[in-house]
Amino acid sequence: MKKTIFGAAVAAVMAAAPALADLTIVDTSYRTGPYAANGIPFSDGYQDYFTLLNQRDGGIGGEMINLVECETGYNTEKGVECYEATKGEGALVYQPLSTGITYQLIPKATADGIPLHTMGYGRTSAKNGKVFEWVFNYPANYWDGASHAVTHILDQNDGDISGKTIALVYHNSAYGKEPIRTLEGLAEKHGFDLTLLPVDHPGQEQKSQWLQIRREKPDNVIMWGWGVMNQVAIQEAVNIRYPMENFIGVWWSGSENDVKAAGDRADGYKALTFHNIGSDYPLYADIQTHVVETGNAAGAGDQIGSVLYNRGMYAAMLAAEAIKTAQEIHGTAAINAAQMRDGMENLEITEEKMAALGLPNFGPEFKVSCENHGGNGFGAVSQWDAEAGEFTLITEYFQSDQEVLAPLVAEDSQAFAEENDIEMRCN
């Protein structure tokens, strides 16, 4: 009885699904749960950029964008449900914004032939396009991030950090464990000691980890956190009076809502980033006129210009540029997922392109190729200014230590290829 009602309801839903002619973009967002504080701005930025293209330019190449949102709650089961529910609508690319969901989707999306773009998260070795045909993680990945943090610490210490201690406070999940391998490699190269401090999901309880930091006084703390874990960690660091300028978060631990709760004493906290910060770009004027003022802003519309909003918008921009590239290659406006993949693989982001889009100097230049799905690994360090209430870039974009990373990527992707009997491409 219950099943028949259910069946009828779902059948009705499926019948009501929109036509497949548009360019379908799925936004697997999370606006609920312990990670919502970070999920909302990213999703708003991602959606607003596509809304802008629809409102201002009438879509991309004359094809309107059909934006489908699906709530995952950062939960893998719901993520799978979202993927299965939306893939039939002709989704061009998935941006799950969750390393756990990414791991689920890599085999599924590869089998279904739908590209995944895991920008700055997900499986790092997906950078190797020879093995991961359908997965892209440009412009930077976790291992780049780990290297950026260490390079920055090196710069602060005149290039010598042997004998120093660096503690890694990380989310005890696939996401948080990703940088460990690289940091171990870097520790060997530069001679520092690495202390690992895992924090369990969702990360509200970190007293013992910070007690240990207080006792052992590591010279630097690197954090791999997300959601409520970030706020708690920064608050705890403030509580034990840890010098904030020695505390560096990955790009997922560096948004305004992570530091604001800790008040003035969070001043000086550093976070990595692979794109620029603030809303001082011509594109934001367009967003204001075409999206906000027409009442089409996603969510509450109060996130515009925040770090994660910018990142979501940046992800959408990269997706839109890949669509344009795909349209050029295949000479058709209504591309499908396989053509989208070609567009992503031939994507090239240059300064002129970004300036033309109204985002001058917004991110690093990079070029995707068949072998390299991960860009060049450029990133920068930003610092929190509590008084002004904003992050500012304190370094130029610099490249990660490819000498250490390249063999690790090759090794990990090789293992995956052997496990799954994947033949190398791009020969």
């Binding site: 259910f6 779902v10 606006r31 449900e81 085999p107 999940s173 464990k177 990703e178």
Partner: protein, 358 residues
């Protein structure tokens, strides 16, 4: 009218002792089985299998397992998530260590491993009861999750700490991995669910089940009439662990394919399965299915109706979903504390007399 016993004479013990003594009930059961095995596989797609059928079937097995422990034997357990993790990791280790052995045996063996672990954690039940036992099993939950996160051997030292199910086939048809056809995954889980349900049903009707129920109703009285509490309690933990382990193995290998222990088998999972058992009805196999259906299908249905049909914002729908499901749970427990199974029983009583109640 439908559930008439009048005229339905039994002439042998076998007939008298069958699972569904009422003819209509029996034929309905056969009809469900035929539909599930011979009709549904031809009509399912990826969405139906991955969002509806697999979670329903797998949670049903877990709920049956927990129901044996909580509903039949009266031993409260909050360790279901941890025990499912044992099944999942056992399955993963077996799959990677013995790639040539059929996945079918791996899943059954994972159940066996979980049964052993479950007995180990069931030992305190001989000394402590009720809420105190619940706390002891809660310790199992946290310990097991911590163990699988901490010790690299369990996840074969993979960099991410995740376990990924490699492709395995049954009769040449892949049932795990990305290339699995929806019908294959569905049938694989369905076979396990049906066998587990039949097994559980017959166990609970036999001597073992009667001993468990005696322990549940009053353990001292049970001991006096000759039930060995040690054996009764530990067999309940063992059988329960076996089913929960199978559910965990299927959850990992067939349904998700990649698992991160803290997120998938956390304390939430323990509560979810416990809620299924309570809402479905303690001490009822049908109740396990009803509870699993209620808690798996209702959120998906609500989401599809609110977001898909009505076009509401996803965050509003997600929050409302919590409110509606939570509210329904409270209403159900007030209106019918014995769960959905009791509603079904009452309906059957009514149907027996309908349409001439006097």
């Amino acid at each position: 009218m439908f559930y008439r016993e009048a005229g339905d004479f039994k002439t042998s013990y076998v007939e008298d002792g069958q699972t569904f003594p009422i003819k209509f009930d029996r034929f309905r059961y056969y009809a469900v089985l035929i539909a599930a095995f011979a009709v549904v596989p031809f009509f399912v797609n990826d969405y139906w299998v991955n969002a509806v059928f697999l979670p329903f079937l797998i949670y049903s097995i877990a709920a049956i397992g927990l129901n044996i422990l909580v509903g039949y034997c009266g031993q409260v357990s909050l360790g279901t998530g941890g025990f499912m993790a044992v099944g999942a990791y056992a399955c993963y280790k077996l799959m990677t260590a013995f790639p040539d052995v059929n996945i079918l045996f791996h899943v059954i063996l994972s159940g066996g491993v979980t049964a052993a672990v479950c007995v180990l954690f069931g030992l305190p039940s001989l000394r402590i009861k009720g809420f105190y036992l619940a706390v002891a099993t809660l310790a199992a939950q946290f310990f097991l999750v911590w163990l699988f996160n901490r010790v690299g051997w369990f996840y074969n030292y993979s960099a991410s700490g995740q376990i990924n199910a490699p492709e395995r086939t049954v009769f040449g048809v892949p049932v795990t991995g990305a290339e699995t056809a929806p019908w294959a995954a569905y049938l694989f889980c369905l076979v396990f669910t049906v066998v587990c349900a039949i097994l559980a049903r017959n166990l609970t009707r036999g001597m073992a089940g009667r001993k468990w129920m005696a322990i549940r109703d009053m353990d001292i009285a049970a001991e006096i009439i000759g039930v060995n509490p040690l054996r009764a309690k530990l067999t309940a933990f063992m059988i329960s662990g076996f089913f929960v382990g199978i559910a965990g193995a299927l959850f990992f290998a067939v349904y998700l394919g990649a698992v991160e222990v803290g997120e998938v088998f956390g304390i939430n999972k323990s509560f979810l399965v416990l809620f299924m058992v309570i809402i479905g009805g303690l001490g009822s196999i049908f109740g396990s299915f009803a509870g699993a259906a209620f808690l798996v299908l209702l959120p998906v249905l609500l989401k599809n109706v609110l977001v898909g049909t009505l076009g509401w914002p996803t965050d509003l729908a997600a929050h409302l979903e919590f409110v509606i499901v939570g509210g329904l749970i409270v209403i159900f427990l007030i209106a019918e504390p014995h769960g959905l199974a009791q509603l079904w029983r009452v309906a059957k009583e009514k149907l027996r007399l309908w349409p001439f109640p006097h």
